[in-house]
C-alpha cells in the first residue's frame, strides 16, 4: 500500500550553523538578531510555516533556489532535523514521536553522498540491508541486482573512497533502495551528474515510482522537475509559493512567455505603451534599466517592441526571450531567477 507524506506549518530556525552536508550547500542568508546582553546571535530561518501534502504513490518535487529550505524539509521528514514548530507525518506516523517506525518506511538519498567509507560498495548495501533486518540470502541477491542495475558491478568490491562523484551518488541511491522503502527521498539527486547518468537516474526514479512508491525529490533544476514530477511545490525562503502539476503551473504564468528588456532610459510612458500591445499581459519593471514583459508570444512581439522604443527614444541594449517554463513561474512570483 502506498504511503503519503504530510507536513503542517513546519518552522525551523537554526541557532547554530547546520552541518554542511545535512543542510545543503545553499544555506539561507543568516539574519542576526540581538540577544538581551547585546551580543549578536546566529539565527537562520529555514522553514517558515511550510505545509505540504504528498499523496500516496505520488512523484512529488520540491523546487526552489539554494537556501529555499528544501533540504531542511527533507531533514525534518527523515528524522534528522528537529523542527522548531509544526508537525510532519509519513503515512500515519508522526515523524517526531515514532521515529523508528518512520525510519522503516523511508529511504534517503542525501545531497552529498554520506557513504560508509570503511566498507566496500557491496558491503555498504549488505550491511544496510542487515540494519533493516533483511535475511542474508535476500540481501545478497538484492545487492547483486542493484549493483548491476546501477552499473557498479565491476567496482563492487572496492572501497568507494576512490569512486567518482557520479558513482558515489549511484551507490547512495542503490543503498536507499536496498530495503525497498515505501517513501523515497532524493535530495538534489542529479546535482553533479553527467547527462548520461542523469538519464539513468531519471529512468530508475520513474521505474521505482511505477511500482507504486511515493517519491519526494528536491531540485533547483526546472527541467528535472518538469520531466519527472506529477506535482511540484515551489518554495522560497521556507515558504510555499506555488503548487500544482508542472503543466498547470506553467500555464498559470500570465502570458507564458517572458521577454526581458534592458533599456536606457526607462520612462513610465514606455511601460504603458508596451502594456497596450496585443498579447502582452503585464509589463513589470525589475531593475533600474530592466523590465519584464509577460506575453503570449515571444519573438513575434519584438518588432513592435522596437517600434515603441524608437518612438519613446529609448535604446534597447539587450533582449532575452524565455518560453513558458517553471523558471518563468518562479520569476513571476519572486522577481528573481532560480539561478540568481
Amino acid at each position: 500500500m502506498a504511503i503519503g507524506v504530510r507536513t503542517e506549518e513546519l518552522r525551523k530556525i537554526y541557532t547554530a550553523p547546520p552541518p554542511a552536508a545535512s543542510a545543503g550547500r545553499g544555506m539561507a542568508v543568516p539574519f542576526r538578531s540581538r540577544r538581551r546582553d547585546g551580543a549578536p546571535k546566529f539565527e537562520v530561518l529555514a522553514l517558515d510555516g511550510l505545509s505540504l501534502d504528498v499523496r500516496p504513490g505520488e512523484l512529488f518535487g520540491l523546487l526552489g533556489p539554494n537556501g529555499a529550505g528544501k533540504s531542511t524539509t527533507v531533514g525534518v521528514l527523515t528524522t534528522r532535523i528537529r523542527p522548531t514548530a509544526g508537525r510532519a507525518w509519513i503515512g500515519e506516523h508522526d515523524v517526531w514521536r515514532t521515529g523508528v517506525a518512520v525510519k522503516r518506511l523511508i529511504g534517503v538519498v542525501p545531497q552529498r553522498p554520506n557513504l560508509d567509507f570503511s566498507l566496500t560498495a557491496r558491503e555498504i548495501l549488505l550491511f544496510h540491508g542487515a540494519y533493516f533486518g533483511i535475511p542474508a540470502s535476500v540481501r545478497t541477491a538484492r545487492a547483486g541486482e542493484l549493483l548491476e542495475r546501477f552499473q557498479l558491478a565491476d567496482r563492487a568490491d572496492q572501497l568507494p573512497l576512490g569512486f567518482s562523484g557520479g558513482m558515489q551518488q549511484r551507490l547512495s541511491i542503490a543503498r536507499a533502495m536496498m530495503h525497498d522503502p515505501h517513501v523515497l527521498f532524493l535530495d538534489e539527486p542529479s546535482a553533479g551528474l553527467d547527462p548520461q547518468t542523469r538519464l539513468l537516474l531519471w529512468e530508475i526514479v520513474r521505474e521505482y515510482h511505477r511500482r507504486g512508491r511515493t517519491i519526494l525529490l528536491t531540485t533547483h533544476n526546472m527541467e528535472e522537475a518538469d520531466a519527472l514530477c506529477e506535482r511540484v511545490a515551489i518554495v522560497d525562503h521556507g515558504k510555499l509559493i506555488a503548487l500544482g502539476s508542472p503543466g498547470d503551473l506553467k500555464r498559470s504564468v500570465p502570458g507564458g512567455f517572458v521577454i526581458r528588456l534592458q533599456v536606457q532610459p526607462r520612462p513610465p510612458a514606455l511601460l504603458r505603451q508596451l502594456e497596450r500591445l496585443t498579447g502582452v499581459t503585464e509589463a513589470r519593471p525589475v531593475g533600474e534599466n530592466i523590465l519584464d514583459l509577460y506575453a503570449d508570444r515571444g519573438g513575434a512581439l519584438i518588432p513592435e517592441v522596437i517600434n515603441i522604443a524608437l518612438l519613446e527614444r529609448v535604446a534597447i541594449h539587450d533582449v532575452h526571450i524565455s518560453e513558458p517554463s517553471l523558471e518563468n513561474l518562479f520569476l513571476h512570483h519572486t522577481g528573481r531567477s532560480l539561478r540568481d
Binding site: Y14, P18, P19, A20, A21, S22, A23, G75, T78, T79, R80, I81, R82, G99, V100, K103, R104, I106, V108, P110, R112, N114, L115, D116, F117, S118, L119, E123, I124, F127, H128, A130, Y131, F132, G133, R175
Partner: protein
Amino acid sequence: MNGKTFLALLARDAHVARRNFLPLLLQTLLQPMLLVFVLGRVLTGSGMMPAAYKSMLLPGIIALSMLLAGIQAVAMPLIAEFQFTREIEDRLLAPIEIEWVAVEKVLSGMIQALLAGLVVLPAAWLLLGKGVALQFDHPFTFLGVTLLVALLSSAVGLTLGCSIGQTQIGLMFSLVLAPMIFFGCTYYPWSALASFPILKRAVLANPVVYASEGLRAALVPRLPHLPEVAIFAALAAFDLFFLLFGLHRFRRKSVT
C-alpha cells in the same frame, strides 16, 4: 530496541575492526611495549629501580592500554563520521533509536578494550622477564575491574568523540589524555603521592586512578592500593557519568 539492527551494527564494527586487524594490533601493542621495556627492563636492569617495580608497573600498563584502546576505538571513528561527510548518517537512519547506535559503539569499544588487555597482559609479562609476581586468586575482582575499566574507556571515548572536532584531535591527546595518564597512577601507586598532599587529593578526580589502582588490587593485592570498595564505587560512578553525558552529546550531535 531492535535486536537485529543492534547486532547488525555490532557486526559492522567487528567487520571493520577485523579488516584493520594488523594496524590495530600494532597500535595497541607498541606504546605499552615501549613503556614496559624502558621502565620495566632498562630502569630495573640498571638498578635505578628495584625489581619489585615490575609487578607494580604491569597493572598500570594494562589499565593504560585498555583505556587507550577503548577511547580510540570509539572516539576516532565518531570524530571522523560526524564530520562533513556525515558517514554515520546511514546508521542514524537505521530502524533503531539513535541512542542505541551510541550504545552499540560503546559495546564495541568495550570489546576492543578487553581484547587489548588480553593481548597486552601476556605480552608485557613476557617482556618484563623474571620477577613479575601476579596473583590470580581474586578472579571476581579482576573480572569486575576489567569490565568497569573497559566501559570507562569506551564511555570516555563516546564523550570525547562527540565533543571534539577533527582539528582538535592533537589537542585531545596532549591536553586531555596525557595528563589523565600521567596523573592516573599508571606508573606509580596512589600511595606514592604521599609527599604531594594536594596532588594526592586532586588526582582522585581522575578516573584513570581507579582503573590503575583497581587492576593493582586485582593482580597484585599485596602491594599498596586504594580500598576495593572505593575503587568499585568510583569506577561505577565514572562509568555512569560518562555514559550518560556521552549519550547526551551524541543525541545533540546527531539531530540538528
